[in-house]
Amino acid sequence: MEKEQVYSIPPKDRQEWKMLVTSKIEHRFQNFVLQMKSAEYSSKIAQGNMSVDQAIDEIYSLCEKYNKAVQLDFKKIFNNW
């Protein structure tokens, strides 16, 4: 039987998450949803419509969902975890 590979994601307390949602790291995700959402977070935070913690929760949750598709992005952003 085919064994499902499990993909890990970096812990939520890594500084890179905050840098991502505030555009301190300007990373272009390969995944379409993450491209759209990462732009939205930094804009909402700048306008005071979203807290940094909320944005981190949301992007973390999306990355958990698409954990396989974001592995190459993570290597570039986090290097290792």
Binding site: F32, V33, Q35, M36, K37, S38, L62, K65, K68
Partner: protein, 336 residues
């Protein structure tokens, strides 16, 4: 060889499609109105379109076959619903915790325009992929007033101003992911901003100055075969030109332009098929379970997909749905 391999993403005869429906398969169908109308009730939704691009052969207009996408091997459950102008915003509130929503809307009707303008603010929009297409028709007939139609196979009803949706659930451990391939790149020479969300533009801001977009395009000989492109943090979103209205000095688009976004004309592409091939090589190396794809009728026409093979088979569309309305964009759904 496995004889039970799922037949999907291909043209089939109405008789073959009927058999798949009677077997209870969960299907998305594209074809001529008179073919879809004759199908039995079942677990399917459909939309009119007679143009298809085909793997291993040139694309074609085909009014005798139906293009079939069969999701049965991938999903655990499905539910078909019809939405009207008043409740289309609830589309992502329905369905399943883990799955996707496949939507078909009729071209250039009120619900299409409503969706195009308002989808970005639909609740729970990004919880699960919202994928789909805008149904159309033979272009000659469409220009003479023929309406695009969508079908709710569960009820056997056909509509011209409502949306049909197949909400699908996936097994635990599987996730649906929606991606796009846009061969067009923005040319940063001119930046364009509009004063409000709109499908029709007269005056706008080009490079910081008020200009009439129609006159600017004529004066600068801009090729409107290519779309306008906005950059959403790496996601390049196209909006296609529908026509220039010389009398009113207006430009009409197939999708809305949004206030606050900056748009650019596209760099010309020598060959759509070649540009697509270059783009797809890198993108597809990581994909192994692509279950649906569609491409825009404008890419079919301007890219001459009736004379080219881009390595995939799918229906053409009068607009693609990838959470929002897109234009001139290859859109696909994959399972991880």
């Amino acid at each position: 060889m496995n004889e039970t391999i799922l037949k999907t993403n291909q043209l089939m005869t109405p008789a073959e499609v009927k058999e798949l429906i009677l077997q209870g398969n969960a299907l998305v169908l594209s074809g001529e109105e008179n073919l879809l109308k004759e199908l039995p009730r079942g677990n399917w939704i459909g939309g009119t379109i007679p143009y298809f691009y085909l793997q291993g052969q040139n694309g074609r207009m085909d009014k005798e076959h139906i293009f079939v996408t069969n999701f049965s091997d991938h999903i655990t459950d499905s539910e078909i619903r019809t939405y009207n102008n008043d409740d289309i915003s609830n589309v992502c509130l329905k369905g399943f915790d883990n799955g996707f929503h496949f939507i078909i809307l009729p071209a250039l009707q009120k619900i299409h325009l409503n969706f195009a303008l308002n989808a970005p603010s639909f609740p729970n929009l990004m919880d699960n992929p919202l994928v789909g297409l805008i149904a159309g028709a033979d272009l000659d007939e469409f220009s003479k007033g023929k309406l695009a139609r969508v079908f709710n196979g569960a009820t056997g009803k056909m509509y011209s101003d409502e949306a049909v949706v197949l909400h699908a659930s996936l097994p635990p451990g599987k996730v649906a992911r929606l991606e796009i391939i846009n061969v067009f790149e923005p040319d940063a020479t001119y930046s364009i901003e509009v004063p409000e969300d709109t499908f029709t533009v007269a005056d706008c801001i080009i490079n910081g100055k008020v200009e009439n977009l129609h006159d600017f395009i004529i004066r600068n000989k801009i090729d409107i075969y290519y779309p306008l492109i906005a950059d959403y943090a790496g996601a390049k979103i196209n909006t296609s030109f529908q026509r220039l209205n010389a009398e009113k000095h207006q430009v009409v688009f197939y999708g809305p332009l949004f206030k606050g976004k900056t748009y650019y004309f596209a760099k010309p592409v020598q060959s759509y098929a070649h540009a697509f091939e270059q783009k797809i090589k890198t993108t597809m190396s990581n994909e192994n379970q692509l279950i649906f794809n569609c491409n825009c009728i404008l890419n079919y026409m301007y890219g001459e997909l009736d004379k080219n093979d881009i390595g995939f088979s799918g229906p053409t569309t009068f607009g693609e749905v990838a959470y929002n309305l897109l234009n001139q964009t290859f859109t696909y759904l994959t399972i991880d």
